[in-house]
Point group: C2
Chain length 299, copies 2
């Protein structure tokens, strides 16, 4: 949970709430409540945002508020194609000292989504859970592959699913072909792999099965910040709601995640995610059905 | 119909048959025969290739053979990502004098696929057909947008469908967003637009409807040469076979085209297209169904 400053070809905002856990919570809470949030913020994090999250069934007793300190801050600028961005500022602030404590009332959680963070912090949360969740999904990024690879490899052995983008999959595996990259990553621990390709959709791999979901073709991508985390929140929210971790249901989860991400990019930060309701989401999911479903007779 | 020299990260071939019409004919002839080919070659074009095409129901009396002249020759080198390539040599040869004559026995053709060529040549073929085909599809490229835009605009007014890649759609429309590009191009004449995105699939636009088909995630793209033309051949071959030009059937056509293209890239030039049979194609189409189809209940 953090603050971002974002510049896109369409506009600029100096300070808006962000952070993987914020996006994941806003997305997932449409499908299941409570969301048991584990994070850290400074005393600058807005009370109104906390109240809004609580109103959506996000429990915050696992979110540490450090007095006299500032929340994590990221600032970035997107290029014309919106697929690449430059990081301008990364102020760790409270994140430098993050030592997550899982509250007692979080024990028994069946679905665990580990946002992108130091692998040792992700590992610490896994270890604090007395009963292993039914499904553990993790995100990560190139930075940890370069600076904490042994720790990352260890976490990979403890999770069910890894969720990364195409560049990260190539870096992690050393393979250019995403099919080969997937095969290699599925031998590192996770049984499921989602490779996010931004505007080009997402791939789900499990054993010899592959599923693909496109991103919705949008007139304008206004701000892609948080789209990947929103996808993750929608995905795991759908799985948690249904309690079904079959491959077929994961397909549905990817469509739900893609629908949520398609809202996220319409306005700055998580703004759009706070406006939509269940009906908006259903209409968007129907658009995905129309976009990809076809019926063909094989003769 | 031409010769290509191709260099990819995986290999190099100094001379192999190519050309849009060759790929289109090999792909389409799996679905409908006869294919009524209009093209021009030099007397260097191999008799065995002509015989192979004839064997597949491709009529060649519309293919002019110019004695003492050479066939069109293209040479290119693909980059590591296989999405971009450098043209090394373009020898027009016979193409410099191409003035297509549509044979009498071609009259009444219901489906016309215009491969990428000078717009005036494409227009000439349209004009020679006494009865307007049920569906006219055209391909084009950035070169004609830069050197023959008024001619290209004229052809666009006479076709039903334009089939181009994403960079070409952006150039033709002056719009970066493909959704906006599509809207703009659909006002130039064609009622249908297919935007090919290479390894990222293809989009079909018609009025407010959009359909998306992914490319099959392949372990290795060996040689992408001709994949777009093979896609076009599979697409129009399916439409011609079924005689159905509804939007729903175009969706199926795009899946068929994508399946054909997924074979094309497996070996140099059209090599792989000559090896496969109808059963291979059906298995590949089933892979597309498994890849994208999902079932979700909206509550």
């Amino acid at each position: 949970m953090a603050f971002d400053a974002i510049e896109t070809p369409f506009g600029k905002i100096d300070r808006i709430v962000g952070g993987a856990a914020t996006y994941i919570a806003y997305a997932a809470s449409n499908f299941i409540q409570p969301i048991l949030q584990v994070s850290i913020v400074g005393d600058d994090f807005p009370k109104e945002e906390m109240d809004e999250l609580k109103r959506r069934g996000v429990q915050l007793n696992g979110v540490e508020i450090m007095a006299g300190k500032k929340s994590f801050f990221w600032s970035g600028r997107y290029h014309e194609d919106m697929n690449t961005r430059d990081t301008l500022i990364t102020d760790l602030n409270v994140l430098a000292d993050f030592n997550p404590k899982v509250p007692d009332n979080y024990q028994g959680a069946e679905f665990l989504m580990l946002g992108n963070l130091q692998p040792v912090i992700q590992m610490s949360v896994i270890k604090q859970l007395k009963k292993r969740p039914k499904l553990i999904v993790m995100d990560t990024m190139n930075f940890w592959m370069e600076s904490a690879m042994p720790d990352l490899e260890e976490v990979l052995k403890h999770v069910d699913m890894l969720l990364i983008n195409d560049a990260e999959a190539r870096q992690l595996s050393g393979q250019f072909s995403l099919v080969k990259a997937a095969r290699s990553i599925l031998q590192m621990g996770p049984k499921y792999l989602i490779i996010k390709k931004g505007e080009h959709g997402a791939l789900l791999f499990h054993e010899d099965n592959v599923f693909f979901a496109p991103a919705l073709p949008l007139e304008e991508v206004f701000d892609p910040t948080g789209a990947g985390d929103t996808f993750a929140g929608g995905f795991i929210g759908h799985l948690a709601k249904t309690g079904d971790i079959s491959f077929d249901n994961m397909k549905r989860g990817i469509i739900v995640g893609s629908a949520m991400a398609s809202f996220c990019v319409e306005k700055f930060g998580p703004t759009r995610l706070k406006e939509i309701n269940r009906k908006d989401i259903d209409i968007r999911i129907q658009m995905f059905k129309d976009l990809v479903n076809f019926d063909i007779e094989l003769v």
